[in-house]
Symmetry: C2
Subunit: 348 residues, 2 copies
């Protein structure tokens, strides 16, 4: 975790994984720290966000964003400090959220994809989670697509992940009955005790489908979807008329290298959507809702400061541990928002 | 086709089909024509609409409407003449559209589910098609969910059926590039020459997927879905960002008695909807849009009277032939809107 002032460690993509990514798909390189010219900033990375979408960037399959090139630095959101500035809007020591640095100690920016942070307002790492992309995804997906109404049943998968945990808590604020789904009994306990879910179910239980039906005696009005797979198949038959499905991820199949074995459930799902008159809407948060970021930031900032939304964060030390941590994330081993501490707040 | 003045032929459900329905699942019964009391009407059936949704009513699987009971008269929309009236709003000889009579020569009504028709305005049978439920489905699904814009690519399946043919023509009125899909070369010819589709493709062609990709060089913005199955799988990879899928039927699997063989395409479809930020919306026309019938009737009436929408209708004579005709409909053998002529306009 010790960062040099002159050397820049970069975690690069060494090979495209088929199936689960591991250490062999990454290579740690060292290059000199860049110098900057007029209009530029030098940024040092303190926190790196790990998110499921990164699996997609490692693959060259058609997706909504370009893949990382082989040999290129892995992309990702980071919290950085300004080391040196020749840009009029930033000064040395400023904290920023950046989408242009990625998995490395240092990056040069011209000010694009940079957002200034106020460390007095909230812990800076929250900008990678509840006050950033995952929180924004939860907020717009649930509020705009899910349209929650008091008394409705909301099912949320990956409920202790940074999106799911926020969805569950907004659901409670809106008066919904919240049924949380997670991958371990301990996660289920947290979903109930810390996030306030009315029920939490472990999707690895052999009778998960029956448990879900029993937990939703009035059917399901909103299914906030970020996993797909077994949970999706269990949810569909329980949908109520005019159910809404905000769809922001299908993490259960991100590591899949082939279609799952049959039978083929696509037509069955399709006719369920028809007979339930349901709406399924895929969304990519900044593409679809970038113009509504201010609305989110204001409301979520208020909820967090009032203690109405709790934030679960898991910090792993060391850029060198990021590949293993990403693998664990894709396997559901994280607990809350997974962040890599790449460097200290202040250099020694 | 000869109707008695005293005997009422009823086509009843004799057994629930597994797979394709046939003559063995129906029984023709004869009962006396009912008498009416104050407030009632006696209706004689002239036309009976056959529609894919009827397959669902023969089954007791969970759906959006109750199944027909074994021994009960098959349900359906009909065009009737008033034989006798003790209801203040109707007189002998009036033409009505009814959803309460179904597959029989005569029915008694208290005025519910009855709509008066003006035979001077349009052929009465049109109220079962372009000016009725199928036309309404096409209109609201395309206009409200599909949100067509000039220059966009619209793909419509079952394109010579009463819904698809109307969708294709509204799509042209809205300035879309219309790619029609149908199940025979002759249907494709009609889709091009009579409905104005820019391209029409036979989904039974061995290279259908490649033909569809070639026909949609700018991707697909709207897929009006009424079939599912192979066409759906060919469409999904071609969707553009923010594509819309109005979903009103999945006729390719109405006769299925088990899920199709794998692999399972559900997660693949789901991640496609996500990455394309697409919207899929199931709808049941009168449940979702009943309150907007007037808007439809006015616009569609105008388009039809101006000759902007052409109507394809196939009339089969005889209530006794309805089971076989329904079987053919589910197998894609019909050509345009399929209607059974149960009786003559005037009794001999």
């Amino acid at each position: 975790m010790t960062q040099s002032r002159t050397e820049n460690r970069q975690m690069t993509l060494a090979a495209r994984p088929v199936g689960t990514p591991g250490a062999e798909h990454f290579a740690l390189k060292t290059t000199p720290v860049s110098s900057i010219v007029e209009g530029q900033l030098l940024l040092r990375t303190v926190y790196l966000s790990l998110d499921p979408y990164m699996r997609g960037r490692m693959s060259d399959a058609d997706s909504y964003a370009d893949p990382v090139a082989i040999g290129g630095v892995m992309v990702g959101g980071t919290i950085n400090r300004v080391v040196a500035s020749r840009h009029p809007d930033y000064r040395e020591g400023d904290w920023v959220l950046s989408y242009g640095v990625g998995w490395q100690d240092y990056g040069v920016s011209d000010g694009s994809f940079l957002f200034k942070l106020d460390p007095a307002q909230a812990p800076v790492s929250h900008a990678l989670g509840v006050l950033g992309m995952p929180g924004f995804t939860a907020f717009m997906g649930l509020m705009d697509i899910g349209q929650p109404k008091a008394g409705e049943t909301l099912v949320v998968a990956a409920a202790t992940g940074p999106v799911g945990a926020t969805v569950a808590q907004i659901g409670k604020i809106m008066g919904c009955r919240v049924v949380a789904i997670a991958g371990s009994d301990e996660k289920c306990r947290v979903a109930r005790e810390e996030l306030g879910a009315d029920v939490a179910l472990n999707h690895k239980a052999s009778d998960f489908e029956q448990q879900l039906a029993a937990a939703c005696p009035n059917g399901i009005d909103i299914y906030f979807e970020n996993v797909g797979g077994r949970v999706l198949k269990a949810v569909l038959p329980l949908l109520n008329a005019k159910a809404r499905i905000p769809l922001c991820g299908t993490v259960s199949n991100y590591n899949a290298s082939a279609l799952p074995q049959g039978p083929d459930h696509l037509d069955w799902a399709w006719s369920t959507i028809l007979t339930k008159r349901a709406t399924v809407k895929g969304f990519i948060i900044f593409d679809d809702y970038g113009h509504r970021y201010g609305e989110f930031a204001k409301q979520m900032g208020q909820w967090v400061s009032e203690g109405k939304i709790h934030y679960l964060e898991q910090i792993v030390d060391g850029l060198e541990n990021a590949p293993e941590a990403l693998k664990g994330l894709l396997e559901g081993k994280n607990f809350g928002k997974l962040v890599i501490r790449v460097g200290e707040d202040e250099l020694a």
